[in-house]
């Protein structure tokens, strides 16, 4: 749920990065954290990581400027991707306003991507929302692996698997190095803020 504070003139939105285990959700947040100035970012919170896997969630608060005189404050969350943490993913989705689905290009993860997107649709529905109605963008991460001998999926194959139903923008990215990370963030922020602002500020 978005929070609109008319007294302080702030809009708070929650954006969740979703995807199968090890697809690069936390890496996206870390890249954003490292690239932004102290004035525009809060502290990054990473909870209970076991090895390099997220167990509960990561949180990165950002300030994204103003719209119609309102300061836009975004909280980026990740979920743990591993199948067994479904209950935790559902908790983190509570009150979500926008979603980034991060897809892994490895051929061996093809089914995992499809399952994870379906898991997202189900968990969103359990919160009484429809994924088709929500701000959503896809990110095709780890594109640098396509230049290696490791079998990977093309963007067309990923679109075919994941974007037939939703028809939303998809961004190629290399979250470890930066390409595509801010393009993804910019698009989901724009869609989320528009969605919230249109609902509450402009349609009165």
């Amino acid at each position: 749920m978005a929070l609109i504070d008319l007294g302080r003139k702030e809009i708070h939105c929650k954006i969740v990065y979703y995807g199968a285990g090890r697809c690069g959700k936390t890496t996206n947040l870390l890249y954003i954290y490292n690239a932004m100035s102290d004035n525009d970012r809060g502290k990054m919170l990473t909870i209970d990581t076991k090895g390099d896997r997220t167990l509960f969630f990561d949180l990165l608060p950002l300030n994204l400027g103003k719209i119609s005189g309102f300061d836009i404050r975004i909280q980026l969350y990740t979920v743990p991707g591993q199948v067994m943490y479904e209950a935790t993913r559902k908790l983190v989705l509570k009150g979500v306003d926008g979603l980034v689905f991060v897809a892994d290009p490895l051929k061996v993860r093809q089914e995992r991507n499809i399952e994870s997107l379906d898991d997202l649709r189900r968990n969103i529905a359990d919160h009484g929302l429809d994924l088709k109605e929500m701000p959503l963008v896809l990110q095709y991460n780890k594109r640098d692996l396509c230049d290696t001998p490791v079998p990977t999926l093309s963007v067309e194959e990923l679109e075919q698997d994941l974007n037939q139903v939703y028809q939303v923008p998809g961004f190629e990215a290399i979250a470890t190095k930066g390409p595509g990370v801010f393009e993804t963030l910019k698009e989901i922020s724009k869609r989320t803020v528009n969605y919230v602002a249109n609902k509450h500020l402009f349609n009165k």
Binding site: M1, A2, L3, I4, D5, L6, G7, R8, H12, K14, G42, K43, L45, I47, F56, F57, L59, P61, Q75, Y77, A87, T88, L91, V92, K94, G95, V96, H127, G128, V196, K199, H200
Partner: protein
């Protein structure tokens, strides 16, 4: 979970009754947050070293996790949580609906007083924020 719109009057009203019931009794910091981890009101000390955003996000997640524990033992939810530290203590109470009141206080304030005052506040905060 519907979006929430806060007016300056509502926030001012809630802060006023929290100041009156808790901050005046030496409770250091009080936060009212929602189930998604947003901060609705923040009273008392500006808590050097305490990151209110992280505290709010973790509190919301903690309540979500403990409500699952509650269900495992046949309860619907736990309405309050309390953690005792060496110097600082923290009390979390569900205010009905989706809101949670977080109180941070030292050993000079009794837990009983905090519990009584939070109970007294719950209905008023609900009325002001949820109408």
């Amino acid at each position: 979970m519907a979006d929430m719109i806060l007016t300056a009057d509502a926030v001012g009203g809630v802060k006023s009754i929290i100041n009156d019931k808790l901050i005046s009794e030496n409770v250091q910091t009080v936060l009212v947050i929602d189930g998604a981890g947003n901060i609705l009101a923040h009273c008392g000390q500006d808590t050097d070293g305490v990151d209110a955003l992280s505290l709010a996000a973790l509190t919301a997640a903690n309540f979500g996790a403990t409500s699952q524990i509650a269900k495992l033992i046949g309860e619907n939810d736990f309405s309050l949580l309390y953690h005792k530290g060496e110097k600082a203590n923290i009390h979390f109470a569900r205010l009905g609906g989706e809101m949670i009141l977080v109180s941070i206080f030292g050993d000079d304030v009794s837990l009983g007083l905090v519990r009584v005052r939070v109970d007294e506040l719950a209905a008023d905060i609900n009325r002001i924020f949820e109408g």
